[in-house]
Every structure is written in structure tokens, then in C-alpha cells.
């Protein structure tokens, strides 16, 4: 009987000591209750708690936790229904408050986030809600963080994961974008054609102007050339007539005759054997020869005169 009592004593002692020693793992904090009332918080590590009097209340996770916000249908300001889901990152900073100020922390935080998502998105239209993720997140964080403050919780981050408009709306959005791009393409194309037409016309105009300019220039130069030619002819004629006026008509005859004979020689050299040259005017040539004879006579006559004068003068 004594040994049985001893055994019981030993077993009870082991149980009591097992309840006396408390190890709080890292990342957790445990609240301590004395007869059901909160007294203090145990930090990670080893603690001794007197059994019967003190008990462990709640075991609070002090690590940052991720809460999935289930997807829900939200109506935007312009009456589009979108499915929205998200994630919340929060951390308990005050174990006692988180344990006792709120009955079910996760559920409460989740409800808060979900209702606020509805509020924030309800004040935006669809295009805004799709493009203003950052603003939505910031606003949600501000509101939820403020609201969870009394629970000793810090909400570090709220992210909207997905905003999904209904299928038909997505299709029409895609169509709208396609139409937008097509419109731009067509406008650009028309613009291109217009530019090209303008450039072409401009080119044609320029080339016509340049051609006309060329013609005009050419006409001017031709006219000038003709004037020059006429002037030269006039001058030449004047020179010839001057020469004739100051000299003898026979000098002219000599030239003409010379040319005439040369022309005849040219014709004789012609490769065309069938060509029969008939002097245009034998008398002309003869006449020109006579001209030459005259010329010779004159010069000879002058020579004879000189000789005669020389003969008449007696030698000294």
C-alpha cells in the first residue's frame, strides 16, 4: 500500500512539474490568466508557472501572417460587376489586445477588408479601378489599419490580387481596343496617302516650272544669239563695205573669185562619180578672172609707172 502511495505521489509530482515548466516557442507569445483573468504575457523562452493558480490563456502568433481575401462580386460606380480578390499581410503587435479585444481576429479583419474593398471600388468607375491598383491598396490599408488598431494588430499590406470584369465586358473592351487601333491605323494610312499625293503634285509643279524656265532661258539665249549673229553680220558687212569704200571693188571680186574656184575644187573632189559639174556661169568665173586681170594690170601698171619715172630720171 505504501509503495502504491509512493507511486501515486511520484506520478502526481511529475504531472505538476510538467505543468510548471512552460516553453514558449519563438514567434509566439502566450497570455497568462490567473483564475481566468489576464495578468501578463509570456515571451518566447522558458517560464515557470505555478499550476492551479496560473493558466495559459491564448497562444498568439506574433509572426506576420497572410490572409487570403476570397473573391467577391463588387459593383463599381458605373454599375459594372467585377470579381475581386486579394491578400492581407498583418502582424500581431500586442498579444493581450489581439487575444481579448476581439473575439475572432482573422474573421474580423477579413470582414473589414471585404467591406472596405466594396466601399473603395464602389466609389470608382471600372476603368479607374483597373488602372488605380496602387490607390486602391493605399486607401484600403489606411482604413483597415486604422480600424484594426484597437486590436493590437498592424496591417502591413493589402494587395488586390485580381480584378476581373465579366466575360462579355472583357470581350467588348478588347473590341474597343482593336477598333481604336484600327482607327489609328486607317487615319495614319490616309494621312500617308494625302502626304504622298501632295508631294507628288508638288514635284510635278516644280518640274513643270523648271521645264518652262529652261525653255524661257533657252529662248532668251537663242534670241540673244540671233541678235549677236545679226550684229556680227552687220559689223562684218560694215567692215567689208568700209573696206570696199576705202579700197577697190576689185578686191572684193578677188575674194569672190577665190571662193568660187575653191568651191569648184570641192565639187570635183566629191566621191559621187555621177556628178557632172557645170560651171554655173562661165562668164562669172571668166569675169572674176577678168577681175583678177584687172587687179594684175593695175598693180603692173603701177609698177610700169614707177619704172617709167625711174627711166625718165637721168642717172646721177
Amino acid at each position: 500500500m505504501g509503495s502504491l502511495l509512493a507511486l501515486v505521489v511520484v506520478i502526481v509530482a511529475i504531472i505538476v512539474i510538467a505543468k510548471l515548466v512552460r516553453i514558449v516557442p519563438q514567434g509566439y507569445e502566450w497570455t497568462v490568466e490567473r483564475f481566468g483573468k489576464y495578468t501578463r504575457t509570456l515571451t518566447p523562452g522558458l517560464h515557470f508557472l505555478i499550476p492551479f493558480i496560473y493558466g495559459i490563456g491564448r497562444k498568439m502568433n506574433m509572426m506576420e501572417q497572410v490572409l487570403d481575401v476570397p473573391s467577391q462580386d463588387v459593383i463599381t460606380k458605373d454599375n459594372a460587376v467585377v470579381r475581386v480578390d486579394g491578400v492581407v499581410f498583418y502582424q500581431v503587435l500586442d498579444a493581450a489586445k489581439a487575444a481579448y479585444e476581439v473575439a475572432n481576429l482573422e474573421q474580423a479583419a477579413l470582414a473589414l477588408v471585404m467591406t472596405n474593398i466594396r466601399t473603395v471600388l464602389g466609389s470608382m468607375d471600372l476603368d479607374e479601378s483597373l488602372s488605380q491598383r496602387d490607390a486602391i491598396n493605399a486607401q484600403l490599408l489606411r482604413v483597415v489599419d486604422e480600424a484594426t488598431h484597437p486590436w493590437g494588430v498592424k496591417v502591413n499590406r493589402i494587395e488586390i490580387k485580381d480584378i476581373a470584369p465579366p466575360r462579355d465586358l472583357v470581350d467588348s473592351m478588347a473590341r474597343q481596343m482593336k477598333a481604336e487601333r484600327e482607327k489609328r491605323a486607317q487615319i495614319l494610312e490616309a494621312e500617308g496617302l494625302r502626304q504622298a499625293a501632295i508631294l507628288k503634285a508638288d514635284g510635278e509643279k516644280q518640274s513643270a516650272i523648271l521645264a518652262a524656265d529652261g525653255k524661257k532661258e533657252a529662248a532668251f539665249r537663242e534670241a540673244e544669239a540671233r541678235i549677236r549673229l545679226a550684229e556680227a553680220e552687220a559689223q562684218a558687212t560694215k567692215l567689208v563695205s568700209d573696206a570696199i569704200a576705202s579700197g577697190d571693188v576689185n578686191a572684193l571680186n578677188y575674194f569672190v573669185a577665190n571662193k568660187y574656184v575653191e568651191a569648184l575644187k570641192e565639187m570635183a573632189h566629191s566621191p559621187n562619180q555621177k556628178m557632172l559639174l557645170l560651171p554655173v556661169e562661165a562668164t562669172g568665173i571668166i569675169g572674176s578672172l577678168a577681175g583678177i586681170a584687172e587687179l594684175a594690170k593695175e598693180s603692173l601698171g603701177q609698177q610700169q609707172d614707177k619704172n617709167a619715172v625711174a627711166r625718165r630720171t637721168p642717172p646721177v
Binding site: V10, A13, I17, L46, L93, D145
Partner: protein, 149 residues
């Protein structure tokens, strides 16, 4: 019950079993009970003729004594070495000594400061927006600040 074996051997067997179980099982209470059992075995060896009840009482006392010895002798020494990360899982305290800019003016002792990409509630003397403040202490999820010198 333990007639055929010397009782101090029984205590030592119990001690070894408890200390072995300590390694295998979670919860760090068996070590001290084991030490108590070993001390009881030593006591029965030194003082022959102890009754079984007396032995059990001695075991209880010695087990509690080993707990007390840890608590009062060993623990203060262990607590002095604080570990590499004394502020692990204490997000608020990690801000002590840091400087932040007020995102909302402190009015009636409460305002908000921008920390990272979020806002923290701060308490301190009334200050305008944009003031740089230094965190001096933490109350739960509120940072106590003073204007940075």
C-alpha cells in the same frame, strides 16, 4: 513491489529514462525530474532503510529543488546572453532609434509617420507634417516619438 532490486537502482533507471525522454519528446520538464530522481537514488544509497513513502517525498522535494536551482542560479546567467536577435518578432521595437517623417501632423498627441510603404500611429508632442521624428519607445502598435535633433 521493488523487493528484489535495490531501490536506488530503480531511481537511477527512472532518472536515465526521463533524461532520455527529454531528448526525444518536446517540453523541457523531464530534465529536472530526472535530476531529482538521480538525487533521490543517491540519497537512498547514502541513507539505507528509507521507507518507500519517504523516498517518494524526497523525490518530490528534490525535483522541485532542481527546478528552483535552475530558476535562481542558472537562469539569470543565461538571460544575460540575449541572443543575436533580441527584437525578433517584435516589429514595433525594431523601430526604436529609427527616424521617420510625419505623414500626418501630431494633433493632441497622436499622428502618423511613414514607415517603409505603410503608416504607423505615433504619439508625441504636437508637430507639423513633414517633421522628422525619432522613435523612443513602443506601446503595442503605437510608436512614441520625439522631434529628431
Amino acid at each position: 513491489m521493488f523487493a528484489d532490486v535495490a531501490t536506488h537502482y530503480l531511481w537511477w533507471i527512472l532518472a536515465l529514462l526521463l533524461i532520455g525522454a527529454e531528448v526525444l519528446l518536446p517540453g523541457y520538464f523531464m530534465l529536472w525530474i530526472g535530476l531529482g530522481a538521480a538525487a533521490t537514488g543517491l540519497l537512498t544509497l547514502l541513507v539505507p532503510g528509507l521507507s518507500v513513502i519517504a523516498q517518494a517525498v524526497a523525490f518530490v522535494v528534490l525535483a522541485f529543488l532542481s527546478c528552483a536551482a535552475y530558476w535562481y542560479l542558472l537562469r539569470p546567467r543565461l538571460q544575460r546572453e540575449d541572443g543575436d536577435e533580441p527584437r525578433l518578432n517584435r516589429r514595433g521595437e525594431q523601430n526604436i532609434g529609427q527616424r521617420y517623417v510625419l505623414a500626418e501632423a501630431i494633433v493632441n498627441g497622436r499622428g502618423k509617420a511613414r514607415v517603409g510603404d505603410g503608416l504607423w500611429l505615433v504619439s508625441g508632442p504636437d508637430l507639423p507634417v513633414g517633421t522628422t521624428v525619432e522613435v523612443v519607445a513602443v506601446d503595442g502598435n503605437t510608436l512614441r516619438v520625439k522631434p529628431a535633433a
